[in-house]
């Protein structure tokens, strides 16, 4: 059956942090696949993961579950997770609704999100 669209997932490594950018829609059709794809990028020597959701058009409840799964996985390995979401994005409301800001930092800019992982000295 055709139909499910796969969001574009790109990653880059900055120092000991991996930045993953998700473009498009994350929903029940692809959330598990996206989660597994990101998990494969998580090596032991990483400090943490920054999820750049600034170009994520839509994130449904399965996407919320994906974020929680990743957060748990990282925490169990002593690694950090932070999110980059702009203030204008509707999905920010979804994050707030489930109080995800209490589980991991949600930043307004990529720099800020990176700083949450690897705090600059001083």
């Amino acid at each position: 059956m055709n139909g499910g669209e796969v969001p574009r997932v790109e990653h880059e490594t900055k120092g000991s942090t991996v930045i993953v950018r998700i473009e498009g829609d994350v929903d029940a059709a692809n959330a598990a696949g996206v989660r597994d794809g990101i998990s494969r990028l998580l090596t032991n020597h990483l400090m943490g993961l920054v999820l750049d959701l600034s170009r994520t058009r839509y994130l449904d409840s399965a996407g919320i579950q994906m974020l929680l799964d990743l957060s748990e996985r990282l925490r169990s390995r002593g690694q950090d997770l932070s999110l980059y979401v702009t203030r204008e994005q509707p999905l920010r409301l979804t994050l707030t609704l489930f109080e995800l800001e209490r589980a991991f930092p949600v930043a307004d800019s990529l720099e800020e999100a990176l700083a949450k992982i690897d705090p600059a000295p001083g």
């Binding site: 055709n2 959330a31 409840s61």
Partner: protein
């Protein structure tokens, strides 16, 4: 004492009736075979002079001694066995064994042992005839050695293996202490040591190669073709003064030429610590071994050369295959470079001449990091077109360069900039070849092959392979360039003939695409067109001219323009297509084309359609069902026929009409049916907005790459403001995206801003996700019905499935329901025998974000 007498003279039973005892005694005394006898107590009783000579005991010492003095310890058991048989009256003949001499050495003998019978039939002892067979034994030994050598040589395939076997066997044959195999170089002036044993590395270091004309044993033997046998130190130094001092350890020397098919190509040399002479049989034996080795070595070298040739041809054949795979220049050359590494070199780079500039188009190395470094280098330090060496020089001159060793001067000439030079030095380049890429007498670029880590040094043989490779690559590049030029021209022509902008009309949305066929195929004559007469009618055309290339594209242009003219002239589709048909038949070469022409009345939403040999458009109704638009067909354009039939169809608001050419659905070997079914399925779940809808359909249909070009035209007839959304989709997560798109499009039709409406989309998504996750067993293919209505300021959405509602327990752990409740003013879940209905409503236009 007659009995004793009989035993002492070794009389045999068969001879007893013959001539007198003195006669036999004389025979025994003069026999060259040792003849002796022993009694039942194994005491020696007779002993002829030959026995004395063989065993070293004179008769008076031997007689009276036990026979065991002659028997080595390891043969004791065997003697008892022989004796038991003889005392039983049997004769044991030709028994090969060993005996002990007085001096303690062993001697190989062949024995015949016979019982000595008394007249009463009793057996009093045994007579023994012994023959010295040491010589025979040695010969047998050597035959076995030669046999063994033959077997070993047959197992050795590579020349190096043959050298090792030959050396080992020659050393063992004469118990030599050291040995070497020297082979004549290709030029015939020097001898190179191909293998050695027993010499220290340091003592041999200065003898790795030496001149054929040198006054050395091996040189002399190779020159004369005759073996040299040097018996002692003095002779060695007097014959070869160069060896004085160097050869203290070894006193004697045997050197035998390696010869095959009448040609001497090397020698095997053996060294001995002791001064020794070489007996004729030893000389013959060594020569036989070396001869065997020579034939084997010759064969192995021939085989190795053949294999190299075969590998070379194989390499070139595979390269040709690779070059034929793609018509894209850069892809082709990158594949070629990757293929050449590491088979031919550690690095491979290709530069092309493009508008007078040298452009690096491909580079390959086994290590991707190094490739990146090289690319960076090329970016920062582009090749100097006037450089005196390497690719620029080869491109200018059209002549190859072979650098067996890369020198500092060469690097400096190739890279005048310090930074680049530093990086290149760090690469540890050893040897290089640069060959021109040529086609039809023109130099297109250069192929650079460099050895680094492998330490390989390129030879004229390698250059030949590289040149052959470059010749093939040059032709492939030329073909690809020609193709690219023609393809580009045709694509440009085609694009220039297609409309740039689509009309914007109220209540109607349009989207169109033209996709040229994939690389390797020609452009075709597919087209689409829209003509807005500004009288409330919009004409839509999709057509396909038979054939390929620039000609098909230009015929397409003529047909398209003619059809436009007829329509602007006020023709109906039927009249326009009729005229087009007459026009096409006046063309010089008879051209065929197929098309669908629809004239759509925006006010009445009525479509007047003609279909000439073309696949029928698809329509997706407001209920989501996809069917073929039932237009009566006629023959293609260019075929003599009467007027084309017209079909008029009422189009419902919210419908999508998709017109396409067969390139979208036709696959070689499959026909049109499977593709058409796939297209229908894709359109069923595609988003409602025309642009995303076309993206979706193309993504679903052209994943395997289209062999033909494709033209698509999509029209969406907007819903009227009060019209509800009615959607039926399969209950699976993959339907969620299309559902969201459909709800978004419907909200847009209702003039509801998405900033206000996105929560409705999200709530609807969660309701459908719930239905697809909970409503049906995994094996059950169910469907979900979605309905959305606008009732004043309220939006009411119902999502209905036919399965049994189950308590939310999937991955979202009830978050979906939370979201629905949060995003909508009201959510009701109603379960019944027929399934589950979720009814949600939200008042819009309140101006707040939530």
């Amino acid at each position: 004492m007659p009995r004793r007498q009989a035993a002492d003279t070794a009389t045999t039973p068969s001879n007893r009736s013959g001539p007198g005892a003195g006669y036999f005694e004389a025979i025994v005394e003069s026999s060259e075979d040792a003849i002796l006898s022993n009694d039942r107590n194994l005491v020696i009783r007779s002993w002829n002079p030959a026995a004395a000579a063989l065993y070293g005991y004179p008769a008076e010492e031997a007689i009276g001694q036990p026979i065991s003095i002659l028997i080595p310890e390891h043969r004791a058991g065997e003697e008892r066995d022989i004796l038991r048989r003889v005392l039983d009256g049997q004769r044991v003949g030709q028994y090969d064994t060993e005996r002990l001499r007085k001096d303690g050495t062993l001697v190989a003998v062949s024995l015949s042992v016979s019982p000595i019978s008394e007249p009463d039939g009793s057996i009093s002892g045994a007579s023994v005839i012994a023959r010295d067979v040491s010589g025979r034994r040695r010969a047998a030994d050597r035959a076995a050695r030669l046999q063994h050598l033959t077997t070993e040589l047959a197992k050795a395939v590579a020349p190096e293996e043959v050298v090792n076997v030959a050396l080992r066997e020659a050393l063992a044959a004469l118990n030599a202490h050291a040995g070497a195999v020297g082979l004549l170089d290709e030029g015939g002036d020097t001898i190179r040591v191909a293998g050695y044993s027993g010499y220290s590395h340091t003592s041999l270091a200065s003898w790795e190669t030496f001149a054929v004309k040198a006054a050395l044993p091996m040189s002399e033997v190779v020159r004369t073709g005759t073996p040299a046998w040097v018996v002692g130190q003095e002779e060695l130094v007097s014959r070869y003064p160069a060896l004085a001092g160097a050869e203290i350890k070894f006193r004697s020397r045997a050197v035998v030429p390696l010869r095959a098919h009448g040609r001497v190509f090397g020698a095997i040399s053996l060294s001995f610590r002791e001064a020794r002479s070489f007996e004729p049989d030893e000389r013959a034996f060594l020569e036989a071994i070396v001869q065997q080795a020579a034939y084997a070595l010759d064969r192995a070298r021939l085989h190795a050369a053949e294999q190299r040739t075969r590998q070379k041809l194989d390499f070139l054949a595979r390269a040709s295959e690779l070059l034929a795979q793609s018509l894209d220049v850069e892809t082709t050359l990158q594949q070629l470079a990757t293929f050449a590494v590491p088979r031919l070199a550690d690095w491979c780079a290709v530069d092309l001449l493009s508008d007078g500039e040298i452009k690096a188009v491909a580079v390959a190395h086994a290590n991707p990091a190094k490739v990146e470094l090289a690319r960076e280098l090329q970016r920062r330090h582009p090749a100097d077109p006037d450089a005196p060496v390497a690719a620029p020089a080869v491109i200018r001159s059209g002549r190859s360069e072979l650098h067996p060793a890369i020198t500092e001067e060469l690097l400096a000439a190739a890279a005048p900039e310090d930074e680049a030079l530093e990086i290149i030095r760090g690469l540890g380049l050893v040897s290089a070849m640069v060959v021109p890429l040529r086609a039809r007498g023109r130099t297109l670029g250069a192929l650079t092959l460099v050895a680094a880590e492998s330490g390989r040094r390129f030879t004229s043989d390698d250059l030949e392979v590289a040149e052959d490779l470059a010749r093939r690559a040059g032709l492939a590049v030329e073909n690809a360039m020609l193709y690219a030029r023609e393809h580009q021209a045709a694509v440009t022509l085609q694009r220039s003939l297609l409309p740039r902008d689509l009309p914007r009309l109220p209540g109607l949305q349009l989207a169109a695409r033209y996709l040229p066929a994939g690389v390797g195929a020609d452009v075709g004559g597919d087209w689409y067109d829209t003509i807005d007469l500004a009288d409330g009618r919009l004409h839509l055309v999709v057509g396909d001219v038979a054939g390929r290339g620039i000609r098909a594209a230009s015929v397409m242009g003529q047909l398209r323009n003619a059809l436009r003219a007829y329509v602007l002239d006020g023709c109906s589709p039927q009249e326009a297509v009729g005229r087009l048909n007459r026009l096409a038949r006046t063309f010089e070469s008879s051209e065929m084309a197929t098309l669908v022409h629809i004239s759509f009345d925006l006010r009445k939403r009525e479509a007047e359609c003609v279909r000439a040999g073309h696949p029928p458009p698809l329509i997706r109704g407001p209920n989501g069902e996809v069917t073929e638009l039932a237009i009566q067909g006629s023959l293609p354009i260019g075929v003599r026929q009467g007027p084309c039939p017209t079909t008029t169809i009422q189009i419902e608001p919210g419908s999508l009409i998709l017109m396409y050419t067969d390139g979208l659905v036709e696959r070689r070997g499959e026909g049109i049916k499977p593709g058409l079914e796939k297209l229908k399925r894709a359109l069923r779940t595609a988003p409602a907005e025309p642009e995303p809808c076309l993206d979706f359909v193309l993504h679903a249909l052209t994943q395997t790459g289209s062999e033909d070009d494709v033209a698509l035209l999509l029209m969406r007839v907007a819903k009227t403001a009060d019209q509800p959304l009615e959607l039926t989709v399969p209950a699976e997560p993959s339907a969620l995206a299309p559902i969201r798109r459909a709800v978004e499009a419907w909200l847009a039709d209702q003039r509801i801003d998405l900033r206000d409406g996105w929560q409705i989309v999200a709530a609807c998504n969660e309701a459908c996700a719930n239905a697809s996750e909970h409503a049906y067993a995994p094996t059950q293919a169910g469907s979900i019905e979605i309905e959305a209505r606008k009732q004043g300021p309220r939006i009411v959405v119902t999502v209905h499935d036919h399965g049994q509602w189950r308590r939310p327990r999937g991955h979202d752990r009830g978050r979906g329901l939370t979201l629905m409740n949060y995003f909508m003013d009201r959510v009701d879940v109603e379960r019944s025998q027929e399934g589950t209905t979720i009814r949600m409503e939200r008042t819009v236009g309140r101006g707040n974000g939530t």
